[in-house]
Amino acid sequence: MSDVTPVVQGRNLVKRYGHVTAIDNSDFELLPGEILAVIGDNGAGKSSIVKAICGATVPDAGEILIEGEPVHFTSPIEARERGIEIVYQTLALSPALSIADNMFMGREIRKKGWMGDWLKMLDKKEMERFAREKLTELGLMTVQSITQPVETLSGGQRQGVAVARAAAFATKFIIMDEPTAALGVKESRRVLELILDVKSRGIPIILISHNMPHVFEVADRIHIHRLGRRLCTINPNDYSMSDAVAMMTGAMEPPDDLRAA
């Protein structure tokens, strides 16, 4: 494990908001090709540490390395330029705009030549082709048309568009925040399949979730966060869901050999 360079590594991260220490000297690491689930009680600081990694907040101390190289993101836009994509719990889609418009929001393709250079004309055909290709790859073309507004899609389909957008542009890794929280049983199943599908393309995923069955099903490793720091990282095959819940709530001590430094 130590001979692989982590895709992203956080060392001794600290973030304080006034008197509250949201991240307390925490470590973090995501290995190539894995799905790392991050679990923790409400207020444990799961989202704080993930925000620090994607540039949404700037940690007060500690360092973040991407493929071994130190980075200092000050906004998610910078992280995105490095190939880090985030699927927000709210999805961050514009309901009245089309699927293609949403997929390219903030990174539209312009036409080649003077039309694009001088008139800033968008290459809608190319964007629609690319969006269709990406959705088809992920088996999501049950939607009628790539130009239909996102608000006409079901919850699962919207999640699919958000995941497809992340998968299409991520080169380093994807962060998914509670991707199944708002979905029904069948749609959750579909999204879990999508997550595994994205993983099979070699893109590692950080999965934040409260849903233990989903976590245990797809995760390769589980990062348990408690009181602002990493308590331990466990292999889901070695522990039960109740062990994980016991550890994250403090009812059970983590095994000594896994205890984070």
């Binding site: 998610p76 836009i77 995105r80 985030i86 927000y88 709210t90 999805l91 961050a92 889609l93 514009s94 309901p95 009245a96 705009l97 418009d101 949403n102 929001m105 903030g106 990174r107 539209e108 312009r110 008139l119 800033k120 004309m121 968008l122 049950t142 939607v143 009628q144 507004p149 608000e151 006409t152 899609l153 079901s154 699962g156 389909q157 049983v185 069948k186 749609e187 199943r189 579909r190 879990l192 595994l196 099979s200 069955p213 099903e217």
Partner: protein
């Protein structure tokens, strides 16, 4: 995952029956009732409503008032009459698409026409430079609105209610509450009246100002629909938070929208000198509300993110057609106002109904 067909799927115990469940749930659901179908069509094409209303009102007034109404001369006159409010409505549309509202558009326009007039007519500065100063001033007035809304975080309604008064007071001060007479403009700076020139085609008298209005709408339509900036404007109006998370610098987009709107108001200012023939600080006092009227009748949602700017053009034309048609039918002016009021209410009601469309 599973390369052996039929291998037990990794999943939760309670989900094992899912294989037998109805797989169609994620598929697109079809509505059947014709009303729901109409609702869907309108939802996809919000500009259809004003187009239909415009065509119907043209036909109805043709039937009532006859050929005098439906003549090339009268139709070109309607265009001319709505050209200034139409351009203000174009500026207003941009702002309403971002879920904002601008009560100061007409004040910016009249202020800029006063500045153009003062510079060119009284100070002897070349008209072209006076006009350019007005354009820069319009963009600056919009910038001021935009900064208050994004940096000071004031609601657009309150901001522009305030700047409406500020710009109005400024224009009264700069003009000394006096009009600049048309004859003074003709002798000192005739170029200010450029857009009052007409092209005669058959019986029609098409002013340059009417054509300018069409050009303004086409350019803004292009910007909104064919450029990344336009997509971002819609995204900001649709869901600002989502746009932020998608990496759109929403404040920058909002400021640019208010600046473009201010600039369009200044273009309308130049055209208004040709349209009115003089520069009057008292003119277009109701222009702010009339521009909102045109936008709303044009099917652009006051909640932002929805509607085509072309709707505002049709909205302005509908108002013009109603006023002209009712006048020719010999109806008292008060009933014209009455009819416009109903048009606004019905337009907003239709917008609400369309927005309730079930996915």
């Amino acid at each position: 995952m599973s390369d052996t067909p039929g291998a037990a799927r990794k999943g939760q115990e309670y989900e094992q029956t899912l294989d037998r469940s109805d797989k169609n749930v994620a598929a697109f659901q079809r509505q059947h009732s014709p009303i729901e179908k109409a609702q869907h069509v309108l939802h996809d094409n919000p500009t259809l409503v004003p187009v239909i209303v415009l065509i119907l009102s043209l036909l109805i007034f043709w039937a009532i008032a006859g050929g005098r109404f439906f003549s090339a001369f009268n139709l070109s006159l309607i265009m001319q009459q709505v050209s200034i409010i139409g351009m203000l409505a174009a500026a207003q549309s941009l702002i309403i698409i971002t879920a904002g509202i601008d009560l100061s558009v007409a004040a910016i326009m009249v202020l800029m026409s006063v500045i153009m007039g003062n510079l060119a007519v009284f100070m002897g500065i070349p008209s072209v430079i006076a006009i350019l100063v007005g354009f820069v001033g319009g963009a600056a007035a919009g910038l001021f609105n935009g900064l208050l809304i994004t940096k000071v975080r004031l609601p657009p309604f309150i901001t522009t209610l305030g700047t409406w008064s500020i710009y109005y007071a400024l224009l009264l001060w700069l003009s000394g509450a006096q009009s600049i007479r048309g004859t003074d403009i003709d002798t000192n700076a005739p170029f200010l009246k450029f857009f009052g020139n007409t092209i005669k085609m058959g019986g029609a008298n098409v002013t340059y100002g009417s054509l300018l209005m069409i050009v303004v709408f086409l350019v803004l339509w292009y910007m909104l629909n064919k450029t990344a900036w336009g997509r971002h404007v819609y995204a900001v109006g649709d869901d600002k938070e989502a746009a932020d998370l998608s990496g759109i610098r929403t404040d920058r987009i909002l400021i640019s929208v208010y600046m473009v709107a201010g600039f369009v108001c200044a273009v309308a200012a130049w055209a208004s000198i040709g349209r009115v023939g003089s520069i009057s600080p008292q003119s277009f006092y109701e222009g702010n509300l009339q521009s909102i009227t045109a936008v709303v009748i044009g099917g652009i949602s006051l909640f932002g993110g929805r509607g085509s700017i072309m709707g505002a053009l049709f909205g302005a034309l509908i108002v013009g057609v109603f006023q002209s048609g009712l006048r020719m039918a010999g109806v008292d002016v008060l009933w014209q106002v009455f009819a416009i009021g109903w048009l606004i209410i019905i337009a907003v009601a239709i917008d609400q109904w369309i927005r309730r469309v079930s996915a």
